[in-house]
């Protein structure tokens, strides 16, 4: 019954059984969110819901690998999200 394993990050979490569990487990962690348009957002995940709407803090926007914008807080509409991945990014700027 478990669906795609693609969403399960190997960020060092415990036993992650379903995508829903993964979504619950990654709150507060630095994540990488890639959109359908190819734009990348890196930041700390504040929360998300079942539609994959995402609220993030300390968000940085990367287009073609280049940092384009920084947002203190960002809300991303879920239909644009391609994936959410945890990252081991080190916070360059103090949180």
């Amino acid at each position: 019954m478990s669906t795609g394993g693609g969403e399960k990050g190997s960020g060092g979490g415990g036993s992650v059984k379903t995508p829903a569990d993964f979504l619950k487990s990654i709150r507060g962690r630095p994540v990488v969110v890639k959109l359908n348009s190819g734009v990348d957002y890196r930041g700390i995940l504040a929360c998300l819901d079942g539609y994959m709407n995402i609220a993030m803090e300390q968000t940085e926007e990367y287009v073609n690998g280049q940092l384009k914008n920084k947002y203190g807080d960002a809300f991303i509409r879920g239909n644009n999200v391609l994936y959410i991945s945890t990252s081991k990014r080190t916070l360059a700027e103090g949180a």
């Binding site: 998300l48 807080d73 509409r77």
Partner: protein, 171 residues
């Protein structure tokens, strides 16, 4: 559970509610967002529980919206509520159809919002920035153009929205 009356509030009325709150309460609640990081640590009512809560705390502020087709908006988020009376209290319904139990009038501020679950929203005093990239056929250089226009009152359909953010604050 009969509803005695349904009153449709105009755009102006919520601002009257807003202005009647003690300034310290408003400022305290805004602090929960301004300080960023773990607004959950501050008072319960300003807890960000769902992503839409983040926008709720942005009300009456200018926000930045990124849209599809390389468009950006900066405008003031408007709020609208429907209030009806029942048993001497108020039920508050936003235009997305969510109903909340009656509570203190001061809670109205944090219960009303201008968007619904689709992220349709209404913005005022909007500046729209359209970015186009043209490639010169001969030199193959990219020419980035931005076009700006101002719109006093704008309804944004939610499916075009990519990202919403409060404007960066200068510390």
């Amino acid at each position: 559970m009969g509803c005695a009356r349904i009153r449709y509030c105009s755009w102006a009325l919520p601002f009257l509610f807003y202005s009647s709150l003690p300034r310290s309460v408003k400022w305290r609640k805004k602090q929960g967002l301004v300080e960023g990081g773990h607004s959950m640590a501050s008072e319960e009512e300003s807890t960000v529980k769902e992503p839409l809560d983040l926008i709720r705390l942005s009300l009456d502020e200018r926000i930045y919206v990124k849209l599809r087709s390389d468009r950006e908006l900066r405008g003031k988020l408007h709020i609208s509520i429907r209030v009806w009376e029942s048993y001497g209290g108020y039920h508050v319904v936003n235009h997305g159809g969510n109903v909340f139990p009656r509570g203190l009038l001061s809670n109205l501020l944090w219960l009303k919002w201008a968007y619904d679950q689709h992220l349709n929203m209404i913005l005022g005093d909007v500046e729209e920035i359209i970015t186009t990239v043209e490639i010169d056929d001969e030199t193959y250089e990219e020419i980035v153009r931005t076009t700006k226009r101002t719109v006093p009152f704008l309804f944004v359909r939610g499916d075009g929205v990519i990202l919403v953010s409060p404007p960066l604050r200068t510390a």
